[in-house]
């Protein structure tokens, strides 16, 4: 009995909980990508760097707050600073839109041109973020890091295996669920949300219906800034902040958005978990679990690993490709431009 419990806890501790947290992190990022794709109709390569900028801004404010002796009790101070970070990021992306993207909307540039433009923006933001906060790794989490640590759990239950749950993991999951619900509600139920969808569907006709495109675009960018900053900060709290890593996050985030179905908030969530869990589960070594569950005589020698972790990225992409073969526009029917 104990053994089975141990096996379950081991699985929870090393697969389910980290997978879920990572999935939620990806999902939050993917929500931003999917929103830009859905409303403004291009794949925004600058999203990773928007996240990085938002996080950098939040970190600076966090330091200010800490310097002033303000903290958030058991929760990380960064959460207090988050609204300011979002504000700054919103200013940045709105400025970017005014300065850059608007022109391409005017000339009705093809989506792929916008993709390239966003790549240019990515380079610039990349430089700006590094300029503001540098390239080093920064830890800005304070407050209680754990709801329960592995050791506490072991002492509490007397099991051999520990179970660690971090505050940030829980916050991320909760925020991701709330964000997707809000976004879904906003897009499908509110006037502004519907006008945004209308704009994305047929810009000319939206104009003819009296929808103000600039407003739609502005609202979209503000939402994107909020999502990107939140995603970035939560990720940074859970792991750490580093400009380069945020840029690297772009690929799994895109993969999540695509596999879930572009333009669909639910898809972003589903996609995030698919990507995260395929990374963690397929390369999981079952040795530990097997050792608990099987009788001693059958205890495995090898790792019982289907594939080395070196292939985890490849595996998650392979799963993505397979999903797409059966669902060509993602799990939740997404858009294709």
């Amino acid at each position: 009995m104990m053994d089975v419990l141990n096996a379950i806890v081991a699985l929870l501790n090393f697969v389910v909980i980290p997978g879920a947290a990572y999935g939620a992190q990806l999902a939050l990022g993917a929500l931003g990508v999917t929103l830009v794709y859905g409303i403004l109709r291009f794949s925004n390569f600058a999203h990773g760097d928007t996240m990085a900028f938002g996080t950098a801004a939040t970190i600076l404010v966090t330091w200010l707050l800490m310097g002033a002796g303000i903290t958030f009790g058991p929760l990380p101070t960064a959460l207090l600073a988050l609204p300011f970070g979002i504000g700054l990021t919103a200013l940045l992306v709105l400025g970017t839109d005014r300065l850059i993207y608007r022109f391409y909307r005017r000339v009705k540039a093809a989506p792929v041109v916008l993709v390239m433009v966003s790549m240019g923006v990515m380079f610039v933001m990349n430089g700006v973020t590094r300029f503001v906060i540098g390239v080093d790794e920064i830890n800005f989490a304070d407050g209680g890091r754990f709801l329960i640590t592995a050791r506490e759990f072991r002492d509490m239950t007397g099991l051999q295996e520990g179970l660690a749950i971090r505050t940030t993991q829980v916050i991320t999951l909760v925020v991701a669920v709330i964000a997707v619900a809000l976004l879904f509600w906003f897009l499908n139920r509110t006037r502004t949300g519907k006008s945004m969808r209308a704009f994305s569907d047929n810009e000319d006709l939206a104009l003819l219906s009296g929808i103000n495109p600039e407003r739609v675009v502005a609202v979209t960018w503000i939402l994107v800034a909020a999502l990107a900053t939140t995603a970035g900060v939560l990720y940074g709290l859970d792991k750490s902040f580093k400009a380069f890593t945020y840029f690297q996050l772009l690929l799994p985030i895109f993969a999540s958005a695509v596999v879930g179905g572009l333009g669909n908030p639910l898809g972003a969530i589903a996609g995030g978990f698919v990507i995260a869990f395929s990374e963690v589960t397929v390369t999981y070594a079952w040795k530990k679990v097997a050792t608990y569950v099987l009788p001693d005589s059958l205890a495995p020698d090898g790792l019982l690993q289907l594939m080395g972790t070196d292939y985890k990225f490849a595996v998650s992409f392979a799963i993505l490709v397979i999903v797409l073969l059966f669902k060509p526009t993602g799990i939740f029917k997404g858009k294709a431009i």
């Binding site: 990572y22 072991r154 990720y235 792991k239 750490s240 990374e279 999981y284 040795k287 790792l303 080395g308």
Partner: protein, 374 residues
């Protein structure tokens, strides 16, 4: 004369957070020499930075091409990663006859590369460190470990040589798995490492990269709480980041008995950067070697001074530590001989690379402490 020396490291790219401290290290040596006014009758040394990107061989080649053919540098501290180093060596440095001393390229391929006497490195070969690690572990009675390495030639080479040495000594490596730097999440890696088990986890990576991510995840999930750190990991950042959480962990990095490395770290701190950052000290040494060799050869021409590098590194005169470059120049100018030890105990084997004497460190009460030298 104003002597230009190139610094070719990856200011952008995956190791971008290591590069500034490496460049600063080399420039510290330049400044020291310039200020002494003793090199080749008062020559100044100025630095020309080139971004080798660490990963893009073509871009690195072009950047080195620029500083060699356009800026006419007389020697290069760099490159950073082995692949890019070999490319710029073969395509630029050797054809143009420029000396390159790499602080951080550790690939075994560089040991035997036909280089016309133009290539050296202040980092020891991976094989040596594997042996040292094994010794340390045996002394501590450790029999079974899990290994994770950064998936490049440095990590792979180190992990393989360690595994070979450790297993030869009767130890058991439960798993030897790579991790990619700069990735968002390391749960999968840690899950596999935890499943394999072991008394401790060897992290053959970079502290500013995936290495920290792995440790974080391993600590958080309770998979491991003691670690062994090779040279890419041992730095102040490790202490700052994890402190007491990794009490009892240990590691090693190149340094000689005597206070070479400590002096360097002090100098770096005074100059406003972190001297414990990986390969920063090696960069200082690389720069110093080039300059001292010039002094010894009485020429800044690489074709001439390349022959003296070895004499400086393995000389039999007075031992030179960081901050003593002026003294060294005096001795050399007076016709004497020096033995450059620098911050990382520079002694060359195979005619071009550091033999590697190491110091063993351990974390006690959240502090990095030196245990002994070997």
């Amino acid at each position: 004369e104003d002597i230009k020396i190139g610094i070719s490291v990856g200011f952008t790219g995956p190791l971008e957070s290591l590069a500034p401290q490496m460049a600063a290290g080399a420039e510290l040596a330049f400044k020291e020499v310039t200020d002494s006014g003793l090199l080749l009758g008062g020559s100044t040394v100025s630095s020309v930075r080139a971004d080798s990107t660490c990963i893009d061989a073509a871009a690195a080649t072009a950047a080195v091409e620029r500083i060699v053919t356009s800026d006419k540098v007389r020697g290069i501290v760099g490159g950073m990663c082995s692949g890019e180093t070999i490319a710029s060596l073969n395509n630029v440095a050797i054809p143009n006859g420029v000396v390159m001393i790499s602080p951080s390229a550790t690939s075994p391929a560089l040991t035997s590369l036909e280089a016309n006497g133009l290539f050296f490195r202040t980092s020891p070969s991976d094989a040596r460190q594997g042996v040292v690690m094994t010794e340390i572990m045996q002394e501590r009675g450790i029999k079974s470990v899990a290994v994770t390495y950064t998936n490049n030639d440095y990590g792979k080479g180190l992990a393989d040589s360690f595994q070979a040495a450790f297993e030869a000594a009767g130890g058991k490596v439960t798993i030897n798995a790579p991790h990619e730097d700069g990735k968002a999440d390391y749960s999968a890696e840690v899950a596999a490492l935890a499943a394999a088990g072991g008394e401790l986890l060897v992290v053959a990576g970079y502290v500013d990269q995936g290495g920290s991510g792995i440790i974080r995840a391993a600590l958080d999930t309770g998979a491991f709480d003691t670690f062994e750190f090779p040279d890419g990991m041992v730095s102040q950042a490790l202490e700052d980041r994890f402190g007491a959480e990794i009490n009892g962990s240990f590691g090693q990095n190149p340094a000689s008995a005597g206070e070479g490395r400590d002096r360097y770290v002090e100098m770096a701190t005074a100059a406003g950067f972190d001297g414990t950052s990986a390969f920063s000290a090696e960069s200082y040494d690389a720069a110093a070697l080039i300059l001292l060799a010039m002094a010894k050869a009485k020429s800044s021409d690489p074709a001439v001074y390349k022959a003296e590098v070895l004499n400086i590194a393995n000389g039999d005169g007075e031992v030179i530590l960081p901050g003593q470059l002026a003294k060294a120049l005096e001795i050399i100018n007076a016709g004497g001989s020096v033995n450059y030890e620098g911050a990382t105990a520079v002694t060359f084997v195979n005619g071009r690379e550091s033999a590697g004497s190491y110091r063993e460190i351990e974390f006690k009460d959240g502090k990095l402490e030196v245990v002994k030298y070997r």
